[in-house]
Symmetry: C2
Subunit: 245 residues, 2 copies
């Protein structure tokens, strides 16, 4: 599938709005994805309103694409709608647990990837926002997500205003295991990351960050211990409040 192999992460967008028919096609593609027991345990929040985008920009670590791109989709694990349907019929439900949190997260993410690919096949650019998890509490406030609804990821969608090259990936055999998992020894790890560590692109990043290795860019600069602890505590608190854990 051409679309899959031509995927780039786009971080610069033109302001041009996306026609409603394209938005609907992207959403219709999303809901064709497989879902647990065909229960569709997700909701998708479509944000095109500039004022709401500005609020979301704030909590998505002020990444400008959130303001600039015309469309932001927030994919939420949603157990609420199903529970309300059960309530309507007096069916006693029990979905506030880790199993159904992960089922609904799965539903939401498979739908998200369908939306991403449908958007890309219409020549739009896309970018996932991992910051959705970091500030899930604030996104819940901004988007009025009620009890039972948890934002798991977001997609920025719009006409690309840059043409980045394909992103590098580890060699295929680095992430694939035939029959059973073959654990990595030190030599394997050296081999797997060799190309990445020795590319000019990443060497420059190491230099700019003034750290001993590319691994340190991740651990000391991009995803630090303090942040990981801080944001994980917030997530745990939300999941406890929603009774998923």
């Amino acid at each position: 599938m051409r679309t899959i192999f031509e995927h780039r992460t786009i971080r610069k967008y033109k302001n041009d709005p996306i026609p409603q028919e394209h938005i609907e096609l992207i959403l219709k593609a999303a809901i064709r994805a497989s879902t647990t027991g065909n229960m569709q345990l997700y909701s998708i929040i479509v944000t095109t309103d500039q004022a709401i985008k500005e609020k979301l920009w704030e909590v998505h670590f002020k990444q400008d694409m959130v303001k600039e791109a015309p469309l932001l989709l927030t994919f939420c694990a949603d157990i609420r709608r199903f529970e309300k349907w059960c309530d309507l019929h007096g069916a006693k439900h029990n979905y506030r647990n880790i199993l159904w949190f992960l089922n609904s997260v799965t539903d939401a993410l498979l739908a998200a990837q369908n939306a991403a690919l449908q958007a890309e096949s219409l020549d739009y650019g896309i970018c996932y926002l991992g910051t959705t998890l970091y500030n899930a509490d604030k996104i819940i406030e901004i988007l009025n997500l009620p009890d039972g609804v948890f934002p798991i990821t977001s997609l920025v969608i719009g006409i690309p205003n840059e043409k980045p090259p394909l992103t590098d990936r580890l060699p295929l055999n680095a992430v694939i295991h035939y029959q059973t998992y073959k654990d990595y020894n030190q030599e394997d790890i050296i081999k797997i990351y060799y190309e990445k560590e020795n590319s000019d692109f990443y060497k420059k990043i190491v230099e700019q960050n003034n750290v001993p290795s590319l691994a340190h860019v991740f651990t000391d600069k991009r995803y630090t211990e303090n942040d990981n602890i801080f944001f994980s505590e917030k997530i745990i608190n939300i999941l406890k409040k929603l009774k998923f854990i």
Copy 2:
């Protein structure tokens, strides 16, 4: 994208093996999916060996397609490989928390949906196995998944031996919210589920299950309170053992 809109869940497969070049194309498609910080926090276990498939069939609730289809892919959140790379460079890592569990789960699921669509575009049928979560502990054993690796979903892939119709979905507006979440009142819920509840297909299922409503089929038959509690406890234990929570 034709492939997205023609997706069916296939549960009956021919035994014919999948050529290695097709398996590799499916896997290459998987690794093109977006990933958190391009860290590729997943591993994919490729099972074609009949003896291992039989063991997995056992823990996937003896669904025959697991034995019959030629290919089973188990998608795992994998923080281990990245940690080992950090260790190699003496970079102090801190990824055993809920934030990075969910990041790696996201990586694994986006890769899975790419694999599913690539397989379908080659005219193979696919089926996701939610049972991966139910018996994650046993799958960890069978596939030798080491510390830091958690199986989140599996894909059965092969030549279809049935031609089911498209699965029904709730109306698009049932799962989409423009700008912010509009909560459902009772009337909304009645409308949203009207078509589903009144289809001959689901009416028959309600009758066969001898329950008062379709909602009860889910709560009392398919996904019961006892099962939800039992399997959630198992998952929580694994996540604690892996120090993700």
